[in-house]
């Protein structure tokens, strides 16, 4: 199936808590951030300026995030289908 990339990112920090995550999100132009309860230092970044579904990855945003020494990993979320039953 052809991958679809969304405007949601998984971002894991090396250290630091929500204030740092919020600061990072603001620095890189993300519209919001939320702590993921099941991953230490794992956050959900979302960017209203990026298309909600596109065929190509937003490399620019991903590389910017990953270059930051405070950030361990940034994964742009792929979209997939779900069917109501």
């Amino acid at each position: 199936e052809i991958a679809v990339y969304t405007n949601h990112f998984l971002v894991e920090l090396h250290r630091g808590g929500e204030p740092e995550a919020k600061q990072l999100a603001a620095e890189y132009g993300f519209s919001g951030v939320r702590k993921l309860p099941f991953i230490d230092a794992g956050y959900h970044f979302y960017h209203n300026g990026i298309s909600r579904a596109r065929r190509r990855r937003s490399l620019q945003h991903k590389l910017h995030l990953e270059k930051d020494p405070r950030i361990k990993k940034a994964v742009q979320q792929e979209g997939f289908g779900r069917k109501k039953r």
Binding site: H8, R34, H44, A53, Q77, F80, R82, K84
Partner: protein, 463 residues
């Protein structure tokens, strides 16, 4: 225990109640009388959904609906894709996004209020987690949804799944699996009570539909007693109380496993029986701790013949003598890596030492994958529930189709999950015809045999 439906005097004035065949099946819409969840008996015994909140992960809940307004838990409702704490359904002109509202109604619709139908667990609360009204789902949205407010939401119900085109092997992705494991482990750690039952009933009348209904229990103060059940207790209760009822399939016959539990490839252990479940749950003792053992593994590539079968065997002692030995099975996983010229033509069966054969993978005509295959895919069966895993397990892999195909199996690892002591020995038996009675008898006999064997060995060794 079968009683005529009219003996159960459930009088509901909700206009659609009589159409809810899965609650009380009187043969409406060409259905089979009696083929239902036996909820009426649980209601009669005073069990409802009071005190329970079910998170309906769907496209939102119409909290203005008169049958749902009084039991909507707004505080626990949310939409993670648009960060909206008031996730009202985004109705389309063809009402496509009313799915969540209907599911919520099946679970929690108010009873006896002259409106619509009745929820299977009426008096419960529902939280709307809106996520299905977007063109695409993402792992982070699924994971965030299923880990939303676990201190408030007791059950997470999902009436949706991967695109069912007969080709995909999709499922929960990495973050969602992590969220699930985190939830269960945290709950297990806190010995909190979290469980979820999913029942699938297919109705063959003109109103044919596929339903998922979540039935769950926790400390029912309304019924005047407190349950102390773990997730695994719920699974054992499901196995022991589900009924064959009138479920029948020509191709897949009902069979018994090595300890006499009746199962069917299509219907599992049968239809949930809410009445029997609450009665047994009332005096249930938490089952012993579960252990995990790698029963064995084959890592050398083995060619799958175009005709006939590749037959592999693994003989295991189920980690006997080690800390993590398993004696009474619950789940068994066959972790398999296999590639072939056409994945959909693969057929995989596994047979336990006690002779119970499970179909792990049957033919999927529309799956023409020839690249990805299955990579460390954890196929799973519960058909060997309660069996002794020690002995030789047989795996059969072949192709089902007229066109010749080729393939190679690169790995088969057997994972055994279960208890070390008999799970039912401490349970109180009330019905001597029940599966519990039968299983307990088996366990006692086996424990006795093994004790005799041990003493004989010690006497012989002394001499």
């Amino acid at each position: 225990g079968y009683r005529e439906i009219n003996e159960i005097d459930i009088n509901m004035n909700d206009p659609l109640f009589t159409k809810q065949w899965y609650l009380i099946n009187t043969g409406q819409a060409d259905g089979t009388p009696g083929l239902d969840l036996n909820v009426a008996e649980a209601w009669e015994l005073g069990y409802t959904g009071k005190g329970v909140t079910i998170g309906i992960m769907d496209d939102g809940i119409d909290y203005l609906h008169p049958d749902l307004a009084s039991n909507y838990n707004a505080k626990a409702s949310y939409d993670f894709s648009s960060n909206d704490p008031y996730p009202y359904p985004r109705y389309t002109d063809d009402w496509f996004n009313s799915h969540g509202t209907r599911c919520a109604g099946e679970v929690s619709a108010a009873a006896n209020n002259n409106i619509c139908g009745v929820g299977v667990a009426y008096n419960s609360k529902v939280a709307g987690i809106r996520m299905l009204d977007q063109p695409f789902m993402t792992d982070i949205i699924e994971a965030s949804s299923i880990s939303h407010m676990p201190q408030v939401i007791d059950i997470y119900s999902a009436s949706w799944g991967p695109t069912d085109n007969g080709k995909t092997v999709d499922g929960p992705r990495e973050l969602t699996l992590q969220a699930m494991a985190d939830g269960v482990n945290k709950v297990m750690f806190l010995l909190n009570k979290l469980g979820k039952m999913t029942v699938l009933l297919t109705h063959t009348g003109d109103g044919a539909q596929i339903l998922f209904t979540a039935l769950y229990m926790e400390d029912f103060s309304e019924a005047g007693f407190i349950l102390d059940l773990t997730w695994r207790d719920m699974q054992h209760l499901t196995v022991l109380t589900s009924k064959r009822n009138q479920l029948h399939d020509e191709v897949h016959q009902w069979r018994r496993n090595g300890v006499g539990l009746e199962f069917n490839h299509l219907f599992g252990y049968g239809v949930l029986d809410a009445g029997a479940m609450v009665k047994m749950a009332k005096d249930w003792k938490t089952v012993p701790e579960r252990f995990h053992c790698v029963g064995g593994s084959i890592q050398e590539p083995e060619k799958i013949p175009s005709s006939g079968k590749l037959v592999l065997t693994l003989t295991t002692d189920a980690c006997e003598g080690k800390e993590n030995f398993v004696r009474y099975l619950e789940h068994v996983q066959a972790v398999i890596t296999v590639n072939s010229t056409r994945r959909g033509d693969l057929n995989i069966n596994m047979t336990s030492p006690m002779g119970t054969k499970s179909i792990l993978l049957s033919r999927r005509p529309r799956d023409d994958d020839s690249k990805v295959g299955f990579d460390k895919w954890p196929f799973m069966t519960t058909h060997t529930w309660g069996e002794d895993p020690r002995g030789t397990w047989v795996l059969e892999v072949g192709f089902v189709d007229s066109m010749p195909q080729r393939g190679v199996l690169k790995e088969w690892t057997l994972m055994l999950h279960g208890t070390q002591s008999a799970p039912y020995i401490d349970q109180i038996v009330r019905d001597y015809q029940s599966k519990l009675a039968m299983s307990k008898k088996e366990e006692l006999e086996e424990e006795l045999d093994e004790a005799v064997e041990r003493s004989l060995k010690s006497i012989l060794s002394k001499n």
